[in-house]
Structure formats: structure tokens, C-alpha cells
Amino acid sequence: MNRKYELVYVVSPEASDEQVADLHTQVEAIVQRIGGQIEKTENWGRRKLAYEIGRHKEGTYVLEVLLGGGELMKEIDRRLKVTDLVIRHLVVRVDEEQGVVERTRSRRTETSRRRRVARGLPADRQPGEGQRGEVDDDRDDRFDMGEELR
């Protein structure tokens, strides 16, 4: 079972840097115990909360991207729930969504290339071609003009 999850947790502003690091080690320990992998860890630092959570107005945000099964996330979720230092957390499964995004992207590039070839243009956009500046996306072929139109 190899799924990709994103875990974001908000640590109470009273926590010291060591405590935040300690929480990360705790998560790491669970991941290692149950079997999984940490792909990425990102500390967003201290941010202002959009609303108060139990008298707190700020919080330290930490993002972790994990590979593993549902059991692993269940355990992490349970642990974070009982940890008082963590004032909010969110687990989102992202692998399926990412797959969809990649597929739409490659499909778009492909259609664009095909349509360009059908119009007798080179498959890839040439530098300085079409209306640049309007769209930065090179995969976009909507604004490419054939020679006769120019």
C-alpha cells in the first residue's frame, strides 16, 4: 500500500523550537514503526491564525509529505489528536489528485502539439511566436496564428 498523504499540523505558539523538532521526531518514529516514508518536511514558521483557536492567535505550521498506508495515517491522526501541543492538524490524501493533474496536463500538451502539426506548424512553440505576455504557458496554442493570418 503506497499512498501519498500530506499532513499539516499547527503547533501552539508557546512551544519552543525544540518541542516542534521533537514533534517531528515523534511523527518520524511512527512512520518508521508502521512502515512508510517521509518524502518532504517543510516548516512554514510562525503564522497568524485566521481565527482564534482556544485563545491562541498564532501558530507554527509544519507540513509533512508521507508515503504509506491508511493504518499509518490513522495512527498519526490519533497521536496528534491527543497531543496538546498540536492545536490543529489536517491529513489529506494527494496521490490520486496529483495523478489527475498530471494527466490533464499531458493531455493538454498533446492536443496542442497535434493541433499545431495539423496546421502545419512545428509541434513546439517557437520563441517569440504568438501573443506572448498574455499567456506565459507554452503549452497554450490558442493564440498561435498561422502564417497567412499574420
Binding site: R47, A50, V92, V101, T104, R105, R142
Partner: protein, 98 residues
């Protein structure tokens, strides 16, 4: 923006532009056809972590901006809603303002 409308969007865009001409004669105010921001900018991934991207769709009262105003297409409005709800849970976006 104007250039976009005259070239783009294939058949659908052109049809709507023709209608607009008629409308324009009837009423003096010219209304621009709304386009989905995510479709035109080719943003496939509406992410809850990107608060800067979500903020224009969360007006003062912190409600989700309706489709009839933003012009977002159904697919992207649905994704946007999920992203906003997730961001709210993490206190990145408010649920409401006092």
C-alpha cells in the same frame, strides 16, 4: 484581455461574443463575458496551501464567492470549495469575520 476574447475559446467563445453585440445594442452597459480563471490560466491544481490564490474567492465576509459572480466553471468551483474548506480548517482562511 480583449485580445483573448477575439481569438480564443473556440466555437463557444465566438457564439457568446455574437450575442453580446445584440445585447450591447439593447442596453448601453457593455458586459464582459466571464471566464473561469482556472481554465484560462491553466491552473490544474487548486491547492489549499496556496492562500494567495484562494483569497480573491473569499470576499470580506469570508464566504465562498458564488459562481455567478466569479465566473468560475463548475468543475473548478467544486475544487475551489474543497480547497477553501481545507484552508479554513487550518486557520489559513477565516470561516467568518465579525
Amino acid at each position: 484581455m480583449n485580445g483573448k476574447k477575439s481569438f480564443g475559446g473556440g466555437g463557444r467563445g465566438k457564439g457568446a461574443a455574437g450575442q453580446q453585440g445584440k445585447d450591447g445594442q439593447r442596453r448601453p452597459m457593455f458586459r464582459r463575458r466571464k471566464v473561469c480563471k482556472f481554465c484560462s490560466d491553466k491552473i490544474d491544481d487548486i491547492n489549499y496551501k496556496d492562500v494567495r490564490m484562494l483569497m480573491p474567492f473569499v470576499p470580506e465576509r469570508a464566504k465562498v464567492l458564488p459562481r455567478r459572480i466569479s465566473g468560475t466553471c463548475a468543475l473548478h468551483q467544486r475544487k475551489l470549495r474543497t480547497a477553501i474548506m481545507r484552508a479554513r480548517q487550518l486557520a489559513l482562511i477565516p470561516y467568518t469575520t465579525e
